[in-house]
Amino acid sequence: MSKVLMKGNEAMALAAIKAGCDAFYGYPITPQNELPEYLSKYMALNGKVFVQAESEVAAINMVYGAAGAGARAMTSSSSPGIALKQEGISYMAGAELPAVIINVMRGGPGLGGIQPSQSDYKQITRGGGNGDYYLYSLAPETLQEAVDLIKESFDIADYFRNPVMIAVDGLIGQMMEPVDLDKEVQKWDLKPKTWAANGDRSNRGKNIINSLYLDPYDLEKHNLKLKAKFDEMRNNHQRYELVNMEDAEIAIVAYGSVSRIARTALEILSEKGIKCGIIRPITIFPYPKLAFKNLPASVKNLLVVEMSTGQMLDDVIIANECRLPISFFGRVGGVVPEAEEIANKVLEIIGGENHE
């Protein structure tokens, strides 16, 4: 299939339809509105469900119900809306329900702003709601990657029986790029949803969807069962890309939109004869610690660049295990860092003009 030029939010919506999404439940919030708007038309045309809920809280609980009944369900929102959805997300993790949640991040805290941001990093990678759980969290940098990962994410959610978060920012939601919606993506080995409470009692006995365990020993057992899933994610499903790392003397750590800008910074630095690489996390949970273990010996510095005041920075500090000095550069509040300023920060770290 040839590429088509699409807006990010609409491309992500179409990717969900291509992935066999049965039902979307959402609530308006900028900058993700084109996503539900697109689905409000095309889900019905595909015989699927679209509901505009009365709130984010209701929307995520509708996702819980649909997922519990065995459907492929999803929702999308932006930062303050994702905060409201944390109740239902926690319940889904507890009840082991698969779902896909797209977060088109904007600046905060509070009502914040509507411009791009990565300030939900901790909200996304630390579970987000109450209790001991994590979401498999994917952070694409292009529309093509967003489309591919969304298509795969429904499989990933079903495989782990856990919600998957797609972490993008307003830039990816609002930009237009050519995308191939029919590119093959990895298929996961999925079992039939024999656990679903879908009103099919006569064929397999009664099913219950639940996150309540009043006996502490039962809940501990359940928590450890969930932990085993998160450990499997950590041990076997880290994803990252190393860019230009051969002979690099410094590595920028950046994900999503920021890693694209860092690529331009690399070109600027290359013209100055500076060898700079990029560690680009694709999963932000599990954090790709492996990427830091196998860096070439030439890398002497790390520079973390984020659209936050330094949220991923903490994960880099953990992954780095005190090996390399770490610097940080962030723009916040919806301000997008420019390639020049990232390049200048690199020059500042490695000695600028004197370096040559």
Partner: protein, 253 residues
């Protein structure tokens, strides 16, 4: 022995687990009625129930159909999610007054507003039972609870919320009735109301809610008998029984 006949047995709509309710509480009667109606309408196998948070939280164990346990107040949203992807299944929520009338009022109103083809079984005992007897939106004026120790005061705590009357004003709702289970006559009447609600759902005619006046002897600080009398003397006058909305009225029986 040939003359021995079974005149009564536990409904197949309930599991064999002992109910977790306090002596004198009417949840048990209401569970029985829901179970019997699901069996009598021959829909038990295709029913998905939604348990809420409160005293009835564990009813996902008690009803014999498929069940989902919802967050506090969110049962109508969960039921919406289920019903939209499984429109041929029967979907009901079972919610108390803390759950529905307080934290979940938006979900209840908007499920009705969208005309979701689900049934809400709403149990009003004028108090938060599970958490130890705090004031609910439905607590009567002057009624003492652990968070209205001097009795509910209209000036600072408002007047009790009338859910059946409120839900009847929602244009999308199809059938709203308030019933009581304080004596056998009313138990039978309540069962007819429930059966009507589930029949309406079965016929895809939309949103139904049956409000049950219930008791909480433990948190009201009364014997079961006194609690029933108190409900009759105090709750029913403020929460009159009857049909508050019936869009199917006038249709052929």
């Amino acid at each position: 022995m040939n003359n021995v006949k079974t005149v009564y047995k536990k409904s197949a709509g309930l599991t064999d687990l002992p109910l977790s309710y306090c002596p004198g509480c009417t949840h048990g009667i209401i569970h029985k009625l829901v179970a019997e109606v699901l069996v009598e309408l021959d829909v038990l196998d295709r029913t998905i129930g939604v348990a809420s948070v409160g005293c009835s939280v564990l009813n996902y164990k008690f009803f014999a159909c498929d069940m989902q346990q919802a967050a506090h107040g969110r049962a109508p949203a969960v039921a919406t999610g289920i019903k939209r992807v499984r429109p041929n299944n029967i979907v009901f929520t079972y919610q108390g007054d803390g759950d529905l009338a307080s934290i979940g009022i938006a979900e209840a109103i908007h499920a009705a507003h969208r005309g979701e083809n689900i049934t809400i079984v709403f149990v009003n005992n004028a108090i938060y039972g599970m958490t130890g007897g705090q004031m609910a939106p439905t607590t009567l004026i002057g009624q003492k609870t652990t968070t209205s120790p001097n009795g509910r005061d209209e000036k600072t705590q408002g007047l009790p919320l009338k859910i059946a009357e409120l839900m009847a004003t929602i244009p999308g709702a199809t059938y709203i009735e308030r019933v009581s289970v304080h004596n056998p006559q009313h138990v039978n009447k309540a069962k007819r109301a429930l059966k009507k609600a589930f029949t309406i759902q079965k016929e895809n005619k939309g949103f139904t809610l049956i409000e049950f006046i219930s008791t909480c002897p433990v948190n009201w600080g009364m014997t079961p008998k006194d609690a029933v009398d108190w409900a009759v003397d105090n709750m029913i006058p403020y929460y009159p029984l009857g049909v508050y909305k019936d869009k199917t009225a006038g249709e052929e029986k």
